[in-house]
């Protein structure tokens, strides 16, 4: 790995890219540091989750050896284009085998990613992210010596089972699910403050009492009992579950009884994997924004002849932005064309009440009444307030689905997709175009589950100190053979019984024994309700 300063040509290109980003297009950017890597360094970096160092572990080793074999045997190209770790500063890595023109396009692309992380509502960018991870790596390395090699490897492997249970941006994340005196201020105090403010506010006292009585049927005794129980739980453990928690690894990282070394491993794995939650929730907007700025900056670079090879660039761009059907959505293609479409909407004043209320189809089609609002400002506002779900919900229309070929399916895929003749709008020799209406719904559905099982922590005192996990039924079965080893791994971290409530089964791993009993799992809404009422979510 070497700094971009060691390559004069690339350094010049970097300066030109940053000139356009900062001075011409006025982008909101953190400090960006570029480094040049050899191809196998690039592969290694990817397996380290885009940080230059990582603690030694089996899985990275497996991925790396497997990649090396695939590259050596010609099954995989070592020509990766770019990776960036956003943050302040951001670290972007260039593959030394790429041509200068490609490197310039990568730098321009990175500009888009860095700005997106800075602006987005999920606040992905934070100070010294890479430096913080380097610090965690050192801590884990030191812990390894203290823990002993065997325990270190065993615990790491166990913790890997939790990586799919990270959800810091979920509606049921740690902050909204757990009352604690560790993370936040005392919630009981907050509640007390709220109550006392109601009682000491004479102006609305009578009205409040009336409203409160309608809203809350709890007797004073019940309220008092609930408060006492909350207080007891907080005093005893330092936390209390008030709602299902989807960020299970986040919970265990904070509250599992763990040695310093074990906690360091959990901290490291959580920190490096939690950004993937941001990626999955914003991938279309993010990649689209990066392509949008890459395209704009590259045009400028070609105009001033800072780099050559515009035909090659067009080929690469067309390859990256190639349309794919909705179930294999290409975020580069969809995002790029969506942003261009939105820019056009704002330029023509089509995001306005007047346009929406216009009933004349011909007038709507020819609409071009700029509202005076800067399209770019409006686009930035969308980034500041939306994730992919809202982005698609607001701006993806059936016309766009058809225009972007999201409903175009290769005929070879048809047998696997349960598509009937009624679903087909038109076809040619190679493709079938399905009706675009249901496509949007299916694309939005992705954001409720991301094609992954939704697992929640619903009780931390099940079977006397055990964890109770809940699989929210999506109509699909979990891979049964993996339930036991996964529970065993969670058990190793929690150091107490662990159960999983899944459809009609309750799987329990306690004291090394695995048990599967038949039960009736209540629906998720009942569980939420019971927890809000301070009752046990599930009782055997």
């Amino acid at each position: 790995m070497r700094s971009i300063d060691t390559d004069l040509e690339l350094k010049h290109l970097e300066q030109r890219v940053l000139h356009y980003a900062h001075d011409v297009f006025h982008r909101t950017l953190p400090e960006m540091r570029f480094f040049i890597l050899e191809p196998m360094e690039f592969a290694s970096l990817l397996h380290k989750r885009v940080y230059p160092k990582s603690p030694q572990n089996l899985w990275e080793g497996k991925e790396m050896i497997s990649t090396r074999y695939r590259v050596d045997s010609g099954q995989e190209s070592s020509l990766y284009y770019e990776v960036v770790q956003t943050g302040r500063p951001s670290y972007a890595y260039l593959n030394e085998t790429n041509s200068p023109m490609v490197q310039a396009s990568v730098m321009a692309h990175v500009v888009g990613h860095c700005e997106f992380s800075e602006l987005n509502v999920l606040h992905d960018s934070n100070d010294d992210r890479t430096e913080r991870v380097m610090y965690l790596v050192n801590r884990v390395d030191r812990s390894r010596q203290g823990m002993g090699e065997a325990h270190y490897r065993t615990f790491w492997n166990a913790a890997e089972s939790l990586v799919s249970l990270i959800a810091p941006n979920s509606q049921f994340n740690l902050e909204s699910s757990v009352d604690t005196d560790i993370l936040y201020s005392d919630p009981l105090e907050k509640e007390k403050e709220k109550e006392s403010s109601l009682l000491t506010f004479p102006y609305s006292y009578t009205l409040s009492e009336v409203i409160q009585k309608k809203e809350n049927h709890e007797s004073l005794l019940e309220t008092d009992n609930r408060r006492k129980s909350n207080k007891e739980a907080l005093n005893r453990r330092g936390y209390k579950l008030k709602a299902p928690c989807q960020d299970i690894m986040g919970f265990l990282r904070k509250f599992a009884p763990a040695s310093t070394g074990e906690r360091n491993i959990l901290d490291y794995l959580y920190t490096v994997n939690s950004t993937s939650d941001f990626v999955i929730r914003t991938q279309i907007m993010n990649e689209g924004w990066a392509m949008y700025w890459e395209h704009k900056i590259m045009k400028k670079l070609f105009e001033e002849k800072a780099c050559t090879g515009i035909i090659d660039y067009c080929k690469i761009f067309a390859g990256v932005c190639y349309p794919r059907p909705y179930y294999q959505r290409n975020p580069y293609h969809l995002g790029y064309y969506m942003w261009n479409h939105i820019e056009e909407l704002y330029e023509q004043g089509k995001v306005s009440l007047e346009f929406v209320e216009e009933t004349d189809v011909a007038k709507k089609a020819a609409w071009d009444k700029p509202s005076g609002q800067q399209p770019l400002k409006a686009m930035e506002h969308i980034i500041e307030t939306c994730t992919d779900y809202e982005f698609l919900r607001r701006f993806l229309t059936t016309e766009l689905i058809d225009k972007f070929h999201l409903n175009r399916i290769p005929k070879s895929h048809i047998p696997h997709l349960k598509i009937t003749a009624n679903d087909v709008a038109r076809e040619d020799r190679q493709f079938v175009w399905v009706n675009p209406e249901p496509v949007k719904e299916q694309m939005l559905n992705f954001f409720t589950h991301f094609h992954r099982p939704r697992i929640y922590l619903i009780d931390v005192d099940f079977m006397e100190g055990g964890l109770l996990l809940y699989h929210r039924d999506d109509g699909r079965d979990l891979r049964r053979r993996w339930i036991r080893p996964t529970l065993k791994n969670i058990n190793m971290i929690w150091k107490g019984p662990v159960s999983l409530l899944c459809r009609e089964s309750l799987y329990t791993l306690s004291a090394g024994k695995f048990k599967n009993s038949t039960v009736e799992a209540p629906p998720f809404e009942h569980i939420v309700e019971r927890m809000q009422e301070g009752r046990r979510p599930f009782v055997l």
Binding site: N157, H451, R484
Partner: protein, 351 residues
Amino acid sequence: MTEDKISSSDSEGIFNDFIKERLEDMVDNIISEGDMSSFGGRESEIIVETDDIQPPRFTYGDEQDGQGGGGGEGPGREAGRLSFAVSYELIMQLIAEKLKLPSLLKEGQGKIKEVSYEFKTYGTAGIILDKKRTFKRALKTSIATKVYDPARGIYDIQLRRKDRRFKLPERVETPRYKAVVFYIGDISYSTYGERLKLEKRVVNFIQHWLDFNYGADKVEHRFFVHDSEAYEVMADQFFNVSNAGGTQASMVFDMVSQVARNEYEINSTNFYAFYFGDGEVFHDDAEEIMRILDEDMLPFFNRIGVTEVKPSGMSQLVSILEERFDNDEVVRLTQMRDSSKIKKVICDLFR
């Protein structure tokens, strides 16, 4: 950070430990069922394909896809396949460890040596100047004599004659071993099908084992067959010569003994001979073999193996030779009835 190398070598080491354990489990299969003839030489890599491993997680998936994972201690398995390259050396080492095979006793030490020179030592006189060491010494001296004193803005380095250090060659002598292996096959019985397969596996193993121990370029493999007469054949003909009828095995032992004496330097060569046949020989023929082994071959052969492949009720070579060579250090007698016995045969021949 600017000059660091990004590498996963530590993690690759952990995975190598893991696959080493898995390969140990696979060694039986490699010996009994694998095709060792496709192995390359010492420098080659062997592609190993095995079940993929994944950390067990709550996931959707077909029940048929997955196998149970080893909670905590290790990974789960997925239906996918995992391919990676393993060095020939590692595979052979694992086989040796698994079968508890000793390193072969190499003779001829001190007779033939490979001489090389390594620049390990350093002196005040010589031809090849060690610039790094010289500079270090000059710097130390310059600091001590205040010729180099950054505090006073003096950055001179004085290079004195006695600071100079030269690389000195050191003679390294490595004993060079050579070995010759005689493979002897009985073509008077029906060597085809299962018999041929068993014989091939053991011969392949012996070839690799000796190449691994001595180095492929230092081992000569020679192939002999017999019916009622003895012939030397090429390696690829060894398994393909047709049955000529009749049998007299002592002739081929005599021939091998003559070749060993006449064509090689007995004091500096390691001799190995491995006989494969159905063991159906006449009594006097077996006695003649016993005599040749005892008088002509035993004194200078490192190892002689006699293997009855799928022996019948008429097979008597091993039982007759046992009268003289039971538990002998050099002559090893064994029988191979089916592929499950390959491992035992190899152990009998080499342990």
